[in-house]
């Protein structure tokens, strides 16, 4: 059931794969050119940072504007609190990520490659630094390792670009998007490190190979971070197109009885346990269906936990992570978070629950970036999946549950 592609090779206990072992196992880095972009297009690879956007289309949009002076940012900021997959990948297969970044650089016509790695993720940053030092001088000369500040929005692509430009990782209003004008005003490709690692393997083995890894019409493998009420939480690689039930079985099974599954992390949404099990994990398919695999977070909430309390905490985190650039995001998320916290504490004000429904509509789409939209989408999923709990708790004023 497990399909190893990114994590094929030495076991995780062996630590980061050295450059020598990497080249011995996979051969030298192939050519990054227009043909590779076509291959990526056909492979069906979509971005693994959360948006599930076609990698081939993204690379081409930069390539068509680059004139050889584009910039590539390998995005390993991983500000999502429930995700571990990017730092795990960088800790174990740093050269796959660097290969992918350099291939992207060659293919889109970039003369600068930046590895943007969460500065709080020590093991990943150290592995990447060591890996870069093992590389030939030609690779090193065009590549810079850069620490991403520990914040939720630091990995948002305009925030990453702004961090390189001005040293402050806050999102910018779009357009222009980074592929039009990014680092130093040049076309910039901001791509999640997992997506780049997949690209490094597709460049070697082709699009048909990548397609064959997935089930049914899903392509490739996906890295997931499984957490919550499972026996063996952690990062796993699975075939795209497998079901949530299979993933939970791989993680040692659910401890206790599941109430719901949080899919995609803080920007994702709750799915009730009875619907989650049969759900098919296919980034492209989920996106087409209006859902999202996000950054591959699968977190299980068991029946003994209080879903309102967990949801309120997540919302509070997102409210605190607002960059305070736009009123609707800063004030809106703060109000939503406060009302949700009051309901979860079982001493809601009379209008709190109706307010939540009203306010979510007033916050959506009103920020410079999508931060408020993500937070609201999460809250809406909580309101839907935990509707009975919300209704009971909102009416429980004065009768504090202990």
């Amino acid at each position: 059931m497990t399909v190893l592609s990114l994590f094929a090779g030495p076991p995780s206990s062996a630590g980061p794969e050295s450059f020598r072992d990497h080249v011995k196992r996979l051969g030298p880095r192939p050519r990054g050119n227009g043909a590779l972009i076509d291959t990526l297009d056909r492979s069906g690879l979509v971005g693994r940072g959360g948006a599930s956007f076609s990698v081939g289309v993204k690379w081409r949009s930069v390539e068509s504007r680059s004139r050889g002076a584009a910039v590539v940012i390998a995005n390993g900021a991983e500000g999502e609190p429930l995700s571990r997959k990017d730092r795990t990948l960088m800790s174990l297969r740093p050269h796959l990520v660097i290969d992918g970044a350099l291939l992207a650089s060659d293919a889109v016509g970039a003369n600068r490659t930046l590895l943007y790695v969460g500065e709080a993720h020590g093991a990943a940053a150290a592995a990447m630094a060591r890996a870069l030092a093992e590389r030939p001088p030609a690779d090193r000369a065009r590549t810079t390792l850069l620490g991403a500040p520990p914040s939720y929005v630091a990995g948002e692509e305009t925030a990453a670009v702004n961090f390189v430009n001005s040293g402050v990782a806050v999102p910018q209003a779009t357009p222009p998007r980074p592929f039009e004008r990014g680092v130093d005003g040049r076309p910039t490709l901001v791509q999640n490190v997992e997506s780049l690692a997949h690209a490094a393997l597709i460049a070697r083995y082709g699009d048909a190979w990548f397609q064959s890894l997935g089930r049914h019409h899903a392509a490739g493998t996906i890295l997931l971070t499984v957490s919550g009420a499972v026996a063996k939480p952690g990062v796993i690689e699975v075939a795209s197109g497998c079901s949530v039930d299979e993933v939970l079985a791989l993680a040692g099974g659910v401890s206790g009885k599941a109430r719901a599954v949080l899919l995609g992390g803080y920007f994702g949404g709750w799915i009730s346990a009875d619907q989650a099990g049969s759900m098919v994990l296919d980034p492209r398919g989920l996106r087409a269906a209006g859902g999202s695999l996000g950054c591959g977070v699968v977190s299980v909430l068991d029946e003994t936990a209080d879903p309102l309390d967990v949801s309120a905490r997540i919302l509070q985190h997102l409210a605190n992570e607002s960059a305070a650039q736009c009123g609707p995001c800063f004030f809106g998320l703060r109000s939503l978070s406060a009302a949700t916290t009051r309901i979860a504490a079982r001493h809601a004000d009379h209008g709190d629950l109706p307010q939540l429904h009203r306010w979510t509509a007033m916050v959506k789409g009103r920020g410079a970036c999508r931060h408020p939209d993500g937070a609201v989408a999460f809250l809406e999923s909580a309101l839907k999946v935990f509707e009975p709990e919300f209704a009971t708790a909102a009416g429980a004023r004065g009768r504090r549950a202990s």
């Binding site: 914040s151 040293g167 402050v168 357009p175 305070a324 650039q325």
Partner: protein, 177 residues
């Protein structure tokens, strides 16, 4: 008069001259809706001027500045003010596509469009020197000049300034390269 109200509201909205309990339609919403209403009346003004059987202006005179045989200069001003308004409106409708900075740059044209429209009124208005028209002019000019003065005198109160500064500090590069 409508245009002046639009300008006043626009200038004041950047000052955040508002009270939290006021609904949004009083500030940004009113600015937008009055602007669109003004455009409708402006369209009526242009159509009625063109089809006026005594002037025979023709449609070209309504779109090409200074092309009218009749009161060439003063009518030209009106055409310019009108076309600036079109640019301002269209860019506002597609702000999400062209980006905030481009929209903002073009929105500055408002400060050109309004005085040109006022001059056009003085130059070729049929009732310019009647007491009621003068009264309207005085009120409009005083309102716009007053609000622009207020805008220049008071800086906008940014309710997020302190929180934003704290957040920026948190996500800033520690060592300057």
């Amino acid at each position: 008069m409508l245009l002046s109200a639009v300008v006043v509201l626009g200038v004041l909205s950047s000052l955040r001259f508002e009270v939290p309990s006021w609904p949004r339609f009083l500030t940004t919403g009113l600015h937008r809706n009055l602007a669109l209403t003004a455009l409708v009346f402006l369209a009526l003004h242009i159509v009625t001027a063109v089809v006026d059987p005594f002037t025979h202006l023709g449609w070209l005179a309504a779109v090409i500045p200074f092309s009218s045989y009749y009161r060439t200069f003063w009518l030209g001003l009106g055409v310019i003010a009108f076309e600036l308004l079109i640019a301002i409106t269209v860019t506002s409708l597609v702000r999400g596509v062209i980006g905030h900075s481009a929209w903002r740059a073009i929105h500055w044209l408002s400060y050109g469009s309004w005085p040109i429209a006022v001059l056009h009124g003085f130059g070729t208005g049929t009732d310019t020197w009647s007491a009621w028209m003068l009264a309207i002019d005085v009120v409009c000019i005083a309102a716009v000049v007053g609000s622009v003065g207020a805008r220049l005198m008071f800086t906008s109160a940014d309710p997020l300034a302190a929180d934003r500064a704290r957040f920026r500090e948190r996500v800033s590069r520690k060592v300057v390269k």
